[in-house]
């Protein structure tokens, strides 16, 4: 592990983060946007665990906060899917471009 260093992990996390942002920006399906958010959260988590491994000060804290992020991501997915289902019930589509009125 010592010969690997934190930089490759951090670069991979940056790549995942950029992929997630592009997914959020370019997808028109609301669930596709949700997947982009999951990618972004995973990238942040990978950073946390990398620093837990390679920085002696964060050996416990990195894992603790990564676990909290995993739980919060699950909660966020549940609420977002409920909202998407509600939107689909009223608009019969999941295209986010159609969600342009305040009170549908």
């Amino acid at each position: 592990m010592s010969e690997l260093g934190p930089t490759p992990f951090l670069i991979l996390a940056a790549f995942l983060f950029a992929c997630g942002v592009v997914c959020v920006a370019a997808k028109r399906n609301a669930i596709g946007i949700l997947m982009g958010v999951e990618l972004v959260l995973n990238a942040a988590n990978l950073n946390l665990v990398t620093f837990a491994r390679f920085d002696p000060r964060f050996r416990l804290e990195g894992q603790v906060f990564a676990l909290l992020v995993v739980v919060l991501a699950a909660a966020e997915a549940a609420v977002a899917l409920a909202i998407v289902l509600n939107f689909y019930n009223t608009h019969t589509t999941v295209d986010v471009d159609d969600g342009n009125e305040l009170k549908g």
Partner: protein, 167 residues
């Protein structure tokens, strides 16, 4: 090339390709399958970093829970077997430029991280993590648990079955 480096190369390549697949595939179901491979790849990276409990939690919560939820959402909102919402080329251009610029910025920032002397021995396992959650981090733990309860009630309320307003 030692074993950790080779393992990291293989797993990181698979994860990055899967993440690209999530972004680039047109069909939303295929995006979900690519996301499955990405999440499994990240879990393997956690194992590689020595955080075994976190890798297991990632597999159980993300792959077993969140992804199944996402697939259920896709099935409940799909209008056909191959539902596709295509993105316009201009949107791809803007999003791609944004993504490349963001990746360049982050990679430049990452290059400035100096390698610290890695900690000795394995990462703290489930025992120290449990003690930390019931000790120093009791308040965040309680907040997260109450938040999870509120979210479940709210999601059940939002997604309850009701008559369609307009056909």
């Amino acid at each position: 090339m030692t074993l950790p480096v080779a393992l990291f190369a293989v797993v990181a390549t698979a994860t990055a390709v899967s993440a690209l697949g999530v972004v680039l595939s047109q069909r939303i179901v295929r995006s979900a399958v690519w996301l499955l491979f990405t999440l499994v790849g990240v879990a393997v990276l956690y194992f590689l970093l020595g955080a075994e409990f976190l890798g297991a939690a990632q597999l159980v919560v993300y792959v077993g829970g969140t992804l199944v939820l996402v697939v259920f959402g896709i099935m409940l909102t799909a209008q056909g077997p191959f539902d596709t919402l295509t993105t316009r080329p201009a949107e791809w251009a803007v999003g791609g430029t944004l993504g490349v610029a963001l990746f360049a910025l982050l990679a430049h920032a990452v290059m400035g991280v100096e390698a610290k002397p890695a900690g000795d021995g394995p990462l703290p396992g489930t025992g120290p993590l449990g003690v930390a959650f019931l000790g120093d981090y009791l308040l965040p733990f309680e907040i997260v648990s109450v938040h999870l309860l509120v979210v479940l009630i709210g999601a059940a309320y939002l997604a309850r079955a009701k008559r369609r307003a307009k056909p």
